[in-house]
């Protein structure tokens, strides 16, 4: 290139962006000295670049939201694993940032999926031992999500349609939050916790001044409808159920006398709403 006295647009651009070696850079610089009109264009592009770099600068100068920093610091605070998904040891990680009910709900889900009481879940998730670890890893990341917000849902109720589309993409199922108004529950929002192995969906409900309820769901390879079980621990009770391709956990306050009935209604709702999809006979 040094032998040439005319340069292409791209070569000039490479010069502006610092992509030339020393020899070619010197050749272009000499050319620009001899061609002030081209030099003026180069200078104009440089001024453009400077002006462009100033755009959005207030975002760079703004304080970083604490919940974004916390994601990384929580990860840094964890004990190291060799690689890949976290192991069951993840269960012992403190989850102080979780709101109390969802903290307990996630803990019981981790506890059950982790296999400590998992006779029923071993039936439900018959795809090899690694899935429990993957779910644990996902839940572990969920902790970071939970802790990242004052309110731990990505999709508040007003974004329910968007959330259902997200779910459809992640699970290839049209899974909608059940209407629990008959039980006095109001839908408060939901999340999908993305993971390398398995996504976990959450619908969160609350009854004013009373009790909360969480519906978790995730993909499974188990046969449909073979599991209906209850696990209770501390103040939390959980019901599990498996459809073709999806497992559900309904988790609520143990003292809630309506919990079993509510769970049954939720399972019936999914029996009805998912069955046409599962059999491929969607109307």
């Amino acid at each position: 290139m040094a032998e040439r006295d005319v340069f292409t647009d791209e070569q000039i651009q490479d010069y502006i962006d610092g992509r030339l070696n020393e020899r070619d850079r010197a050749a272009v610089a000499a050319y620009l000295l001899a061609h002030p009109r081209v030099a003026a264009e180069v200078e104009a592009v440089r001024r453009q670049n400077e002006a462009l770099r100033a755009l959005g600068h207030e975002i760079l100068d703004a304080p970083v939201p604490e919940h974004l920093r916390r994601l990384l610091r929580d990860r840094a605070a964890r004990p190291r694993t060799e690689s890949g998904p976290r192991t069951r040891g993840a269960r012992s990680r403190p989850i102080r940032a979780l709101p109390s009910f969802l903290r307990a709900a996630a803990a019981i889900l981790v506890f059950c999926v982790g296999g400590a009481v998992g006779w029923f879940l071993h039936e439900a998730i018959r795809v090899g031992p690694s899935l429990a670890d993957m779910l644990l890893a996902d839940i572990d990341r969920a902790y970071a999500f939970y802790g990242a917000r004052d309110y731990p849902v990505a999709f508040p109720p007003e974004r329910a349609k968007e959330f259902v589309t997200w779910i459809d993409r992640a699970f290839e199922r049209d899974v909608r939050p059940p209407n629990l108004a008959a039980f006095g529950y109001r839908y408060r929002g939901g999340r999908v916790f993305p993971g390398a192995g398995a996504d976990i969906g959450l619908f969160h409900f609350a009854r004013p001044h009373d009790t909360e309820l969480a519906v978790f769901f995730w993909s499974t390879a188990a046969a449909p409808g073979i599991v209906r079980a209850l696990h209770a621990r501390d103040d939390i009770a959980a019901y599990f159920w498996t459809a073709d391709g999806l497992s559900f956990a309904v988790i609520g306050d143990r003292a809630n006398p309506d919990l079993a009935r509510t769970a049954a209604a939720i399972f019936a709702f999914y029996d009805q709403s998912l069955a046409p999809q599962l059999t491929g006979s969607r109307p």
């Binding site: 592009v45 974004l68 999500f145 990242a148 968007e162 390398a196």
Partner: protein, 179 residues
């Protein structure tokens, strides 16, 4: 790994700016950054030391954005009540500087999306062409030619904007002085 996490934390402002460009609305932009950080943490072992961490994060951020756009397109088809808004990059500085930068901002925002994005990555964020190529998933030559056209379009837009302000006739394109 802690060192990498610290470096990722230092990149958050850059991620927020890129996300603001991609997502427009500040809350959605930060949701996108959160999603990006979560995925980066999950696959942190796949980052190759010695490579550009910012470019790696931008790839993740952009993929998160694309996934979200695909989801939203499906939502819009069901409930088309969410018109797209324009980017909301603001300009800092004194009154005079703000006026000058506002011209640049308006010209920048008038460009096509692919021109804006390549300028953002290379001219604003200072990434190498190769890194922009990986982020945009286009060949290196496409980055180079797209960047050249973007700069030309920006100059034309700036001149058109100034011409409109003064009311005087302006050439729509700069004279090609080389080649």
């Amino acid at each position: 790994m802690d060192d990498v996490l610290q470096r990722i934390e230092q990149e958050i402002p850059r991620l927020r700016r890129y996300a603001r460009y991609l997502r427009r609305e500040p809350d959605h932009a930060d949701d996108l950054v959160q999603e990006c950080l979560s995925r980066a943490i999950a696959k942190i072992d796949t980052w190759q030391p010695g490579t550009n961490l910012r470019a790696w994060l931008f790839v993740i951020l952009r993929n998160c954005h694309i996934n979200e756009i695909r989801r939203e397109q499906r939502v819009v088809s069901l409930d088309d009540d969410s018109p797209a808004s324009e980017p909301t990059l603001t300009v800092p500085g004194s009154q005079e500087t703000r006026v000058a930068l506002a011209e640049v901002r308006n010209a920048y925002l008038s460009l096509s999306e692919e021109h804006r994005e390549v300028l953002l990555l290379v001219a604003i964020e200072g990434l190498q062409y190769e890194e922009a190529s990986a982020i945009l998933e286009v060949p290196l030559g496409t980055v180079r030619s797209r960047l050249s056209r973007a700069r030309q379009a920006l100059r034309q837009a700036l001149e058109a904007g100034r011409g409109a302000m003064t009311g005087g006739p302006r050439r729509s394109a700069t004279e090609k002085a080389h080649g």
